[in-house]
């Protein structure tokens, strides 16, 4: 049986068998889920397809969100990139465009893939699809990267939380960005150790981020934070790929993220009672007091 409970055990499996993180996660799914490799991969290909459809739908036909707080951001970024030089550079510019696109689709009741949650669903596809486009990578490579991302998200889900109501936004966009960073490292030829270092870096950099959705809706500042999550993931992936090691392991950072999350006040954990939600502008139209994940 291929199973692991910690990043350390995951790394040992990789090193003992010369497997990538994505290999371990695929085998684990087949072993524990009692499904074939073909079914498992096909299911992930379907997730990738939905991610791509979400991005193209927001770019082709921008729509207002259910709550009316967002809509059309992805198209604006896209137009900006066409008409000006993107100051972020290509990968990051594409990444933030795609991340905001997915959140726009999510907020208008379109179909998305929660990764790990709906509110943080833009980061993983945002970064991976941008890298795919910039480096002409195949769908098979990106599908593998999604299994790598799944491994990091699984560890956070198992050993901490991915619910904003429990651990704040660090548990949602923080974990999503950690997943994206780890997957990006593998996608660009990095080692399992570098993937885990990248994920650890992200959790460090987003530690303590509160969940404070305006009017309790999964719209604002969620969409902005999906864009910034891509940037945090990309910088962490680059530092890891350059060979910079991290003092603090991913296991320790997941544990710390959880401990910090539990100490975030109630008002700042998806209740729409504090933070951005309680600013004069954020609150001017406030009418609800709790959001979903």
């Amino acid at each position: 049986m291929t199973d692991f409970k910690t990043a350390k055990e995951l790394l040992t499996l990789c090193q003992d068998h010369q497997w990538l993180i994505s290999d371990v996660m695929k085998r684990r799914e087949c072993d524990l889920g009692e499904v074939s490799m073909e079914q498992t991969v096909r299911r992930m290909e379907r997730a990738l397809e939905i991610m791509k459809q979400a991005v193209s739908s927001a770019l082709k036909s921008p729509v207002k969100s259910m709550g009316g707080l967002i809509g059309g951001e992805a198209e604006k970024l896209s137009a900006h990139r066409r008409n000006h030089r993107a100051i972020c550079g290509d990968v990051l510019s594409l990444g933030i465009t795609y991340a905001m696109a997915v959140l726009e689709v999510n907020a208008s009741m379109g179909v998305i893939v929660a990764a790990p949650t709906a509110g943080a669903s833009g980061i993983v596809p945002g970064l991976l699809l941008a890298l795919q486009q910039d480096n002409s990578l195949s769908d098979a490579q990106v599908t593998d990267a999604l299994f790598n991302a799944g491994a990091v998200g699984y560890l956070a889900m198992r050993n901490a939380t991915v619910a904003g109501a429990v651990g704040g936004c660090q548990a949602e966009t923080g974990v999503a960005a950690a997943m994206a960073a780890s997957a990006a490292v593998e996608l660009m030829g990095g080692t399992p150790q570098q993937s885990l270092d990248a994920a650890s870096t992200v959790l460090m950099n987003l530690l303590g981020l509160v969940c404070d959705p305006v009017r309790g809706l999964v719209e604002y500042p969620c969409q902005n934070r999906n864009a910034s999550g891509v940037a945090v993931a990309l910088t962490a992936a680059e530092t890891a790929l350059s060979g910079i090691r991290q003092l603090i392991s991913l296991d320790e950072m997941i544990d710390t993220m959880y401990q910090v999350g539990k100490r975030i006040p109630y008002e700042l954990r998806e209740t729409a009672l504090g933070g951005c939600a309680a600013t004069p502008s954020g609150c001017s139209a406030c009418r609800t007091d709790a959001a979903g994940t």
């Binding site: 379109g110 998305i112 709906a118 799944g150 699984y154 619910a163 309790g216 999964v218 959001a291």
Partner: protein, 223 residues
């Protein structure tokens, strides 16, 4: 600890905007309609906690109605579920209840009325990330997630019923993964929930009904 699949992390595939308030709501109603016997004519949703306060902004109402019509969490028809329900002649209502506070924040009661006049009420909780469970069936507390193939048996709380159930399953060569009995009060109505890895054959229901203390049975396949 239950198995966390990679598709619990990269997933569910869902209509937005919220895994708990939209996808979870749809999943509760989807499971509820699988438990209903007969053709659905009327459905009444009572919303509690955060569901009651934020259901419009999260499309919880459309997701519930979509789920009750058998739409899965990634079915885009959820957006138009009000219109589709009207076309199908299904009467529906949503009532927020903010008086009950000792309850999971994302809870819904679903009362279904079928064309033959029979009713079934289930209470579901959306427990996060799209995961759900049914915690009440009519007035009886149960614990049911629909992750396995299952049969729910409505019976009189009398001796010999459990033995009858296991005998029927054994004759059909079905391996029991979990079996639990829930009851209202001693000697009154009880529910047995049997969960199995195997698909449950259609003939099982008639065999179970052969015992006079078995009142009804619902077969719920997990696909």
């Amino acid at each position: 600890m239950p198995f966390i699949s990679v598709f619990d992390v990269i997933g569910p595939n869902m209509v937005g905007p919220s895994s708990s308030h939209t996808a979870g709501a749809c999943a509760i109603a989807f499971l509820a309609q699988k438990m209903n016997i007969g053709v659905l004519k009327k459905v009444e949703f009572t919303l509690y906690g955060s569901f009651a306060r934020t259901y419009r902004g999260h499309g919880t109402d459309r997701a519930l109605l979509g789920g009750i019509m058998g739409f899965s969490t990634d079915d885009i028809r959820i957006r138009d579920s009000f219109r589709i329900a009207e076309e199908r002649g299904i009467e529906f209502s949503f009532t927020p209840d903010s008086t009950e506070t000792d309850i999971h924040p994302n809870t819904v009661d679903i009362r279904m009325t079928s064309d033959n006049g029979s009713t079934l009420t289930v209470r579901g909780e959306s427990v996060g990330g799209g995961k759900i469970k049914i915690v009440r069936l009519n007035h009886v507390r149960i614990d049911f997630t629909g992750e396995y193939n299952a049969i729910i048996i409505i019976q009189k709380d009398k001796p010999g019923v459990a033995a009858h159930i296991t005998r029927c399953l054994s004759e059909k060569n079905i391996n029991i993964a979990f079996m639990r009995i829930f009851r209202e009060t001693k000697g009154d109505n009880a529910y047995t929930i049997v969960e199995s890895d195997d698909r449950l054959p259609a003939g099982l229901k008639d065999q179970l009904l052969a015992n006079p203390n078995v009142q009804d049975a619902m077969i719920i396949q997990n696909d």
